[in-house]
Amino acid sequence: MATDQMLARRKLLNVAGAALAALSLATAPALARDTVKIAFIGPLTGGNSATGLGGRNSASLAVDLHNAKPDAKYTYELVPFDDECKPNVGVQVATKAASDKSIIAGITHYCSAVAIATVDTYNRFGLPVVVWGAVLPEITYGNDYKEIHRVNGTMINEGKMAAEFLTKQGFKTFVVIHDTTDYGKGQNKYFAENLKPQGGEILATFPVPPDQQDFTAELTKVKELKPDVVFIGGLTPLGVRVRSQMDRLGIPAQLAGVSGIMSAGFIEGAGPAAEGTVSFHNGAPLTKYADGKAFMDAYAKAGYREDPDAYGPFAFSAANLIMDAIEKAGPDRKKVRDILNTTKGYKALVGEINFDDHRQNIVSANVYVSQDGKWVYWPDSAYATGTKKLPGKAASN
């Protein structure tokens, strides 16, 4: 326990290093400020912990940076909870956070199954939350709870963008491999729905358990079907395995995936084979935004052990959105909720945040391609300019 506190302290010191001058100014007034607690809930242990820890670090960075501001009215304290990506544990920690009256708002959930299970709890207890990573549409659209907001987009945008982009690139035949969680199933649904009007054809769909290691049997079938594109509806581990094993079986098809594979982990995991993989993700790349570089620098300086991952910037933005609402309304859940409800044109790290009538941020998906070991915004990539050719195209030509 003691080491843990030391760890937290060291992290704080690191942050102090990040904003040294600002901090020295801020320490004195900070003592006089009231402390307001914000919950962060995500998977900190288990298979999805990489994203969860990235989200937590980003949110904690936002809080530290905000606390270092000399003109902040309150000192914020981030209270992290681990939902283990398990719905029943999620309900437990949601109840814990929501029934703790000193917690004013929450930055909640990456796993869709957990997020959908907890909406009732937040509504019942009146805790305003901002979802930072779960993409299941029903989380915001399946209810009319004023407490539930979401900064990231849903899989509807991603599926639509994927279908439009891929058919426009001239790909005609598709095979979908998706995991059997609601994330994968949803991705499959929205992609398939949008592909038909575009004239694409799905040759086969393979639902697979999310922890499956070996895909050679499915991929041999894929080899037989010779599709233009293999579309992945799943998270990074699935994407990496399918990508590596496609290579092994000599399948030349183009690989496309959803936001779930758009992580540093995919590129690291798939190695050189990642080159040319296309992915669709809500929001533009960090570097497209004014604060993107500053965020990355501050994150690096804070010395976290894990990368921010794909959804870190969303957690960071959600934290800022909440803190700014509290600055305006004071530490009162109802008032904070009302301010969050009406968010329009809020400048955040991930771009402008506008909530629709279901408190869902209106975002459009963007296309990314893996190029030279990085995810590159499609319009900026060598593939868009024609210097490089998508692997699937090279094969079909």
Partner: protein, 399 residues
């Protein structure tokens, strides 16, 4: 050493000083429950650690110090007093923490998992039938509650049907489970759990991976999740759930203890300990294993149904192998066959990790080390089961 050795010598002494002994027993139990209540409620790390240390100390005292052993013996000799005090203590804790949503939720969770552990006790601790699919049968109960919650069938009946459904589904496994023993039977249940989960996830009939919503429990027209006050008091809607869960555990406790202290208990123990001897003396191994397996699954199913109703949803993930192992850990850590041990272990396994939220991503590894430590240094569990002593049931005492 076994605490059981001490038990028989006690009744003779206590016959003389019955009243005082009962008082001591009641005080001990009440004190333990008070500590447990504080632990459930404590949020500050310092408090949590102090309470944990206190519990470790209590266990050490009960084992190493003569007075402690004496009190343990007294507790064993006066089960009625223990159970009554426990019931009163639970009511008192519930009344004191009536507005604490999270604490009551955890209390209900502990009670329901302990109820499931009671089912596993019948199966594993008594009949020796391994069941590594506890969470699967738990989930079956919750799915039944989801399907029948809206149909107008009284919810008490829904609980019963849920138990029945879990038992019936267990029938599928009966043949392989009866034909095998030990690790082979364990694998049958592991495979069943994985199979059921995969099936629920892939198949959309029962909601697919998202699962189903479960209507909240209502008793005689009283919707539990809408209860926010009782008389003049504001209460958490988790209060009725906590009380119902504890009552359910009480019922399971009663059933299991009754079976244990009957010839059925003797028969089950014999079947577990020595199949050859049991069958030579005329016991049908299949009958008793089947009885325990089906009854146990029914109990797990009922507990699962109430858990589903409390949470408001159920999904395939509820049937995962990890949760089955959690139930098993509760059983083993508590001491196979001792239901109060199961309650203590349920607190250790379900509540302590939540109290460790402050250590975030290191939680799981610390927890795993804790369980290893308990298994390593107390291989028969926190509270080992006592040998069966019928002497209290025999009029006049045949001795």
């Amino acid at each position: 050493m076994s605490m059981a050795d001490l038990a028989p010598s006690v009744p003779a002494q206590t016959a003389r000083s019955g009243g005082l002994a009962r008082l001591a027993v009641a005080a001990t139990v009440a004190l333990l429950f008070a500590g447990g209540g504080f632990l459930l409620h404590a949020e500050q790390q310092g408090q949590v650690i102090a309470l944990l240390a206190a519990f470790v100390a209590v266990f050490a005292l009960a084992e190493k110090v003569p007075v402690g052993r004496r009190i343990v013996g007294l507790c064993r000799a006066h089960p009625g007093t223990v159970n009554l005090t426990a019931a009163v203590s639970i009511l008192a804790i519930a009344a004191a923490l009536r507005e604490e949503h999270y604490t009551l939720l955890m209390m209900a969770t502990v009670a329901l998992f302990a109820t499931a552990a009671a089912g596993l006790t019948l199966q594993m601790a008594f009949a020796g039938v391994p069941n590594f699919a506890g969470a699967a049968f738990f989930a079956v109960g919750a799915y039944v509650a989801a399907l029948l919650g809206n149909t107008g069938i009284p919810h008490l009946l829904v609980l019963l049907i849920a138990g029945l459904a879990a038992a019936v589904l267990g029938l599928v496994l009966l043949l392989p489970v009866l034909r095998t023993r030990g690790h082979y039977a364990a694998l049958v249940t592991i495979a069943f759990g994985l199979l059921l989960r995969a099936f629920l996830e892939v198949n959309d009939v029962l909601g697919g991976p998202q699962g189903m919503k479960v209507k909240s429990f209502s008793l005689f027209g009283l919707d539990f999740s809408r209860m926010t006050e009782i008389g003049p008091y504001d209460v958490s809607f988790y209060l009725p759930y906590a009380l119902a869960s504890c009552a359910l555990f009480g019922l399971a406790f009663f059933l299991v203890r009754r079976l244990e202290t009957s010839f059925v208990g003797v028969a089950l123990d014999a079947v577990r300990s020595d199949e050859v001897a049991a069958s030579v003396f005329g016991l049908s191994i299949a009958r008793w294993k089947a009885t325990a397996f089906l009854l146990g699954n029914a109990m797990i199913g009922v507990a699962g149904a109430l858990y589903g109703m409390m949470n408001g949803f159920v999904n395939p993930n509820s049937a995962n192998f990890g949760d089955s192992l959690i139930m098993l850990s509760i059983l083993v850590l508590g001491g196979l066959g001792n239901l109060w041990g199961a309650v203590v272990a349920a607190v250790v396994i379900l509540v302590i990790p939540e109290k460790l939220q402050a250590i975030q991503e290191f939680r799981l590894v610390i927890f795993a080390l804790l369980v290893i430590a308990i298994l390593r240094f107390r291989p028969s569990g926190l509270m080992p089961r006592a040998a069966r002593d019928f002497s209290a049931l025999v009029k006049g005492g045949a001795k």
